[in-house]
Symmetry: C2
Subunit: 321 residues, 2 copies
């Protein structure tokens, strides 16, 4: 029977039962790799691979027809060279991360708006007192660059919390979620950020997103702007962002992604002003909901794949998502 190879550390017995049920429907056999080394040694006869499969292993998957990555970002999986042959379907797990990453975005936006790191520092010193004026999501103008699952989940939450205006920025104009009051195309990004309280980047890393948050855009931000990045670090001119933070030309930033990762000790981002850093943890497999949604997406797709039906989250490797 054709084989599904799975490399994933987050699966519960319930997840395995679901996968088994879908595999039975699909007429495939499930094989769990013990670890990365086991995966590398034994993926040669797998028709399907699911989980976090290192890009460097895929070349050896001679029987591969479908690679289902548990990640949302597929930038490491775009190049032809990593594949053993043409025609391999690549799907990602878009839809699993919107909840967790948007909660991270709401949290860090409020931490920046409410001077929370400074209050935490005050409490560490065991002192007491107001640190001055704060801001709110309520009544704010929020620009979301990238209107996929993550950006849309954030937009909905910001709108529900009373944001006055939520502007989406996307590659091409098409019907967006009603959470967006307006939608701009990426070439009008500079125009979109003019009145922003918050600019949230939730972009995949593709040829067209690298450096899109350029020095020119950063230098045109209003001084009250807060910048979030949960997509990929290379979307941002990081040096220009650090300068804008340290010269207080913008009000703050919260970066879950950066260049490089991990950030080496002593990197200037660690000491940038009003900058909240997190170690690319906003959307990892640490939340039950994410893991459940991820497995559900794979199981639905497995049945569709077996039946020759249209699959979800199929990546156009030319565009990059």
């Amino acid at each position: 029977m054709n084989k599904i190879g799975i490399l994933a550390t987050y699966l519960t017995q319930e997840h395995r039962d679901k996968i088994q049920a879908a595999a039975d429907l699909a007429g495939r056999e499930v094989h769990y790799f013990k670890d990365a080394a086991d995966c590398e040694a034994n993926l040669g006869d797998c028709e399907i691979l699911y989980g976090y499969i290192p890009a460097g292993f895929i070349k050896k998957a001679a029987s591969l027809k479908w690679l289902a990555t548990a990640a949302a970002g597929v930038d490491a999986l775009l190049k032809d060279e990593i594949y053993p042959h043409e025609g391999i379907i690549l799907t990602n797990s878009s839809g699993s991360y919107g909840v967790t990453i948007s909660e991270h975005m709401i949290m860090t936006t409020l931490m920046l708006m409410r001077r929370m790191p400074a209050y935490q520092e005050e409490m560490r010193r065991q002192e007491w007192g107001s640190l001055g004026n704060i801001r709110s999501i309520y009544g704010s103008t929020i620009v979301v660059v990238g209107t996929g699952d993550i950006g849309t989940n954030f937009a909905c939450r910001a709108k529900a919390m009373g944001a006055a205006r939520v502007i989406g920025v996307r590659r091409t104009l098409k019907e967006a979620d009603p959470a967006f009051d307006e939608v701009y195309t990426t070439d009008r990004l500079k125009e979109a950020v003019v009145g922003a309280d918050v600019v949230a980047l939730a972009l995949p890393a593709t040829a067209s997103t690298i450096g899109v948050f350029s020095k020119e855009i950063i230098d045109s931000l209003p001084s009250r702007a807060l910048v979030l990045n949960v997509g990929r670090g290379n979307a941002v001119d990081q040096d220009a962002l650090i300068d804008a933070l340290n010269e207080e030309r913008i009000a703050g930033a919260a970066l879950d992604v950066m260049v490089p990762e991990p950030l080496p000790k002593g990197h200037p981002l660690f000491s940038a002003k009003n900058c909240i850093l997190t170690p690319h943890c906003s959307g990892t497999m640490t939340l039950q909901h994410t893991n459940d949604a991820n497995v559900d997406t794979f199981c639905r797709n497995l049945v569709r794949y077996a039946r020759g039906e249209e699959m979800e989250n199929v990546i156009d490797r030319g565009i990059g998502y």
Copy 2:
């Protein structure tokens, strides 16, 4: 002309213009006190007082008919002894604080759920890596004790972020906001918290709320419970809460109010496990929206007062809100 005395540091020219317009309609003269000493010396002929008037001054306000406090909590203004005579109307500024305090509550809930203080500590050490499983508001059961402006604003935001169940707990059953899936009376608090991921206290300090979050209730919380308090510190058996935190019988707490305030250096709360403290800053006059809403409420009430119409936010000093 009868006088309105105002002691407030947060008023902009726009606010003063609004107050002047309302005073003109009401046929009253506006007098701004320079500072607390000026207020104490010169409030004797004021018919109306607005702002943050120290409770100890009120006895000297021989002409007082209406005390409009800019605060939401009125526990310092309940006793007959502080007043110069009977029949003085007391109003608070309920309605001004729901936005800012509920944003604080969403922020701290997410910080606790997402291990944010530990991630911040990791970043301070300039290290990198996942700190393990996190939780989400999405899918959670949230118990809100006190279903006034603040509790209701929090409930709406939690619901909009996908909370599975939002339970309100209030003194008496009456129609609550549709954000609450269920409402319990306070005498059933122990029952209400059984399945809680979050228990949020947004209670005024009244005779019946002191100690309501007792050792018995705290000891009955599920181990995953996170406790928020934005009302008054004396609603909680603080020693029992500290024990529960340090023995990891509950998952965490975020306290903006405590006993005493300011918290003295070396107080055990400063070192309690998984406890986020803030210096009673969640709802002060540091947010434009709060200040605007506060002034608007006073102006509306001023016109109603002058016309002999029913006023907003009139406190029943017997009940305490």
